[in-house]
């Protein structure tokens, strides 16, 4: 039982990381109907920028100040990125169909990856924001030997939860939230009721950039900032399909499901199937969900009158 719980908790905490990346995808899809292929690149760029800023500043000032400055700089960088994407990529493509915009984001992905490496170099960088990394045993009284968890993973979960609550409030209660949903549905109509498209797009790409920064910091603390971070984004795709492209809670629940499922599959099915299940489990799960529930667990049903 102790071992089972340990696998479960390990899986859930790993899933939080997937959920964080998936969240960035969902935000942009909800608000503009674009599947943003560049989300992984944005995570990578945000991580590089933040790590570089930390290295430069921590030599000259106390840790807390360096951390704050670096966060500010990295946020500024993501705002600038959002502005540039809106101004030079999205604005000329207003009223184009989803596929065109999707292709454009592939271009953006290469641009962002390339520029980030050009500016910050392509060495693997460490991120240390002072989150505790000690492993600890919990529930030792209930189980023999207790359950091993990593403090960093727990902190990640807390951060993710706060982020989700804030974003949900924003989307459901605010005028801007409703405006975002309107823009996703119909650009023309949204403009005609007075919603400034360019501003909305800037806001949503900025938020996605902010989410990317958070994801970069927690991933970076775990595995370092390296090009492989962009592949993490690929893991977010099955999470999106399982959770539904338009649902913020969906991204979280699906992230947890995928993280948990992976670990269980690896531990319990691995020995009989030859291992390596963790690599492909998420995609098979996504395929299965597509077969029985194409809109995902929490996605909006697509309604079309014929």
């Amino acid at each position: 039982m102790g071992f089972f719980l340990e696998v479960l908790i390990g899986g859930l905490l790993g899933g939080v990381l997937y959920a964080l990346v998936a969240l960035g995808f969902v935000l942009i899809f909800k608000a503009s109907g674009i599947l943003n292929f560049a989300q992984g690149a944005m995570v990578f760029a945000a991580g590089l920028g933040f790590a570089a800023a930390m290295e430069k500043t921590s030599a000259h000032m106390p840790f807390a100040l360096a951390l704050a400055t670096s966060l500010l700089l990295a946020t500024g960088m993501m705002l600038l990125t959002a502005w540039a994407i809106e101004r030079f990529v999205l604005r000329p493509l207003v009223n184009q169909n989803g596929l065109t915009l999707f292709m454009a984001t592939i271009g953006v992905a290469f641009m962002v990856e390339g520029l980030a490496q050009q500016i910050f170099g392509n060495n693997i960088r460490r991120i240390d924001v002072g989150l505790p990394k000690t492993s600890m045993f919990i529930l030792e009284s209930q189980f023999d030997g207790g359950i091993l968890v990593n403090a960093l993973d727990l902190w990640t979960a807390v951060i993710a939860a706060l982020l989700v609550v804030a974003l949900s409030l924003f989307f459901q209660n605010t005028r801007t939230g409703r405006a975002l949903r309107a823009v996703a549905d119909d650009h023309t109509a949204a403009q005609s009721v007075g919603i400034p498209l360019n501003w909305i797009w800037f806001i949503v790409w900025s938020i996605a950039g902010g989410v990317a920064l958070v994801a970069a910091i927690v991933w970076g603390s775990k595995i370092g900032v390296q090009f492989a971070l962009t592949f993490v984004a690929l893991k977010a795709l099955p999470v999106l399909i399982v959770g539904g492209l338009t649902s913020i809670p969906g991204a979280i629940v699906a992230g947890l499901l995928v993280g948990m499922g992976e670990k269980f599959a690896e531990v319990y099915l691995g020995p009989s199937l030859g291992g390596g299940i963790e690599q492909w489990f998420a995609y098979v799960l996504a395929l299965f969900v597509l077969l029985v529930r194409p809109q995902g667990l929490f996605g909006e049903r697509i309604i079309e009158r014929i």
Partner: protein, 269 residues
């Protein structure tokens, strides 16, 4: 039923125009959509824009609310000449519209769709809105009341919560009118509000348009193909053909105009 509302004599009045279009030309590459057209819309009137298919009627509305920018000529609205106005700015200045092919937010309910029309009426900051409390709450309630009034006015109480993608075409057009009215516009542009409707639905729509004009005082520019409707509703009519203006006047004058008759019936060559 309400008693018939007496016709006013706007056509002969000399009230200042709410909007005037002066010598506008619009081309897409080599295709001329509008050539040197001028007309005005007076405060409080229903102004019909008619003409055969491809005459440039919708292009004209798109110029007025800023989707298109004419290459030549100018548009003066509320006394200010406008340069390259963007649609959301036009909306902020009180121009609302509906579209030929219904443009609603299909995944949202009727209520939410009409609420988007109140986008510009929300004044409180993001933080207040997010916590849904205090002045922001009062404002939300105010907006909801305004929307409920419109739902009541358009007799669509029963479909309040239904996602508009599921509604019939006629009802969708009605919701779209509701969203435009929720903006409390000074100038309402209606692009074929009755296309594809049966007689009963058309009568309802006529009633709503007249009510919006007479009771709410909304100035309306209307594109419509049903001549009976145009003659009944409008105070003045402008006729376009191949992007040029061929007639302008009261319904009775336009009906007698030979060019108009030729445009609609064709002339022997």
């Amino acid at each position: 039923m309400n008693a018939p509302i007496p016709r006013r004599d706007i056509a002969s009045s000399t009230s200042a125009p709410l909007l005037s279009v002066d010598n506008i030309s619009l081309a897409f590459g080599g295709v001329k959509a509008i050539t040197d057209v001028s007309f005005d819309i007076r405060k409080g009137e229903i102004r019909a824009i008619i003409g055969p298919n491809g005459a440039g009627k919708t292009s004209m509305l798109n110029c007025i609310n800023g989707f298109y920018h004419p290459q030549a000529g100018s548009i003066t609205y509320k006394g200010n000449k406008r340069e390259r106005m963007r649609p959301h700015v036009a909306a902020a200045q009180g121009i609302a519209r509906t579209f030929q092919n219904v443009a609603l937010f299909k995944g949202m309910s009727t209520l939410d769709n009409i609420l988007t029309g109140r986008s510009l009426k929300v004044r409180r900051g993001l933080l207040w809105q997010a916590i849904w409390f205090g002045p922001a709450l009062a404002e939300q309630i105010e907006n909801r009341i305004a929307v409920e009034r419109i739902i009541d006015f358009l007799e669509i109480e029963s479909i309040r919560k239904i996602p508009v993608g599921k509604l019939s075409y006629g009802l969708q057009k009605r919701v779209e009118l509701g969203r435009a009215l929720a903006m409390e516009p000074d100038l309402l542009l209606l692009d074929e509000p009755m296309a594809g409707m049966n007689t009963e639905e058309k009568e309802d729509m006529c009633r709503f348009i007249l009510d919006a004009n007479r009771r709410l005082g909304t100035t309306i520019a209307l594109i419509e193909h049903d001549m009976g409707v145009v003659m009944d509703l409008s105070d003045r009519v402008v006729v376009l053909e191949y992007g040029r203006k061929i007639a302008d006047g009261t319904p009775a004058e336009v009906k007698r105009n030979e060019k108009v008759i030729a445009a609609y019936l064709g002339v022997p060559h």
